[in-house]
Amino acid sequence: MTFVFDLLLALSLLWSAWRTLATPRLDRAIVLFIIFGLLMSLAWARLAAPDIGLAEAAIGAGLTGALLLDAYGVLLRRRGTA
């Protein structure tokens, strides 16, 4: 049972990573990256590493995601004004 769960989690990690790189729209890529970060938190929990899970959620997904989204917003606005 846990094996199947791990496998599914691993596959969804890989899928979200793949989509992050391959999806044509940048905003979707960033959202997918944040999802990837949250899945990573889960994986860390499965690896009995709650400290990393917390850090990944807060920093990896949260802060990095916020930075990326903010950057995307600026690019969008610049393009709008240009």
Binding site: A49, L54, A55, I59, A66, D70, R77
Partner: protein, 220 residues
């Protein structure tokens, strides 16, 4: 055409790499060294009861010292790259959002303090606490209660560097014990909490700074 063959080349190299790496990982026997035993054995002297925190701030505290340096350095490099720009005017968000923000931020501060304190014996610690505080600052910024940074003034610079400076000073001061970061077992707990408190504040400022510095030229 050239691009296509490059893609094929890189992807096949990557696949081959994964294949061989996976096989080699499977061949692995038990390791010669097992650090779990010494980690557990010295836990009592480390000043904390949570093993990860013990590794992070005591056994391998030197790594963490340098890591904080990296973080401070990144902020510094960003400052150097973006140069001076006027702070973006705060866009006042909807009053309801602002009210929510005012409500959420004290809660987040409480959570951060809890995480900091909990780090000694369970998951948590300065990083997580700092991240939560930073998130609070970002939240305040987003609802228009905290302006972006134009140029960190003396007080702010002091705050950004204080955690690292404190860590550095403790590390150096412990040279009197025989070597860098050699905590006396009796005082280890207090010292680590001291360092973590300092780090929480500075980490929060730095992490928030990464966001606030970058977002300020949004309107520029």
């Amino acid at each position: 055409m050239k691009r296509y063959s490059l893609v094929v080349l890189v992807l096949s190299l990557a696949s081959a790499f994964v294949f061989f790496l996976g096989r080699a990982m499977l061949e692995l026997g038990p390791t010669a060294i097992d650090l779990r035993a010494p980690v557990a054995a010295h836990l009592a002297e480390s000043g904390v009861t949570h093993p990860v925190t013990a590794v992070l701030l005591n056994y391998r505290g030197y790594d963490t010292l340098l890591e904080i340096a990296v973080l401070l350095l990144a902020l510094l490099a960003i400052l150097a790259v973006v140069g001076e720009a006027p702070a973006s005017p705060t866009r006042a968000a909807h009053p309801v959002l602002q009210a929510l923000g005012r409500l959420a931020v004290p809660l987040m501060v409480v959570v951060a303090v809890y995480l900091l304190w909990a780090g000694a014996f369970r998951p948590g610690g300065a990083f997580q606490a700092g991240a939560v505080l930073a998130a609070a600052a970002v939240l305040l910024h987003l609802v228009g209660l905290l302006p972006g940074w134009s140029k960190p003034r003396l007080g702010l610079r002091f705050g950004l560097a204080a955690g690292f400076a404190l860590f550095l000073a403790v590390a150096a001061g412990l040279l009197t014990q025989g070597s860098l970061l050699q905590y006396p077992p009796a005082a280890a707990g207090v010292l680590i909490l001291l360092i973590e408190s300092g780090l929480t504040v500075s980490l929060a400022l730095i992490l928030a700074g990464l966001f606030l510095l970058l977002s300020r030229e949004a309107e520029a």
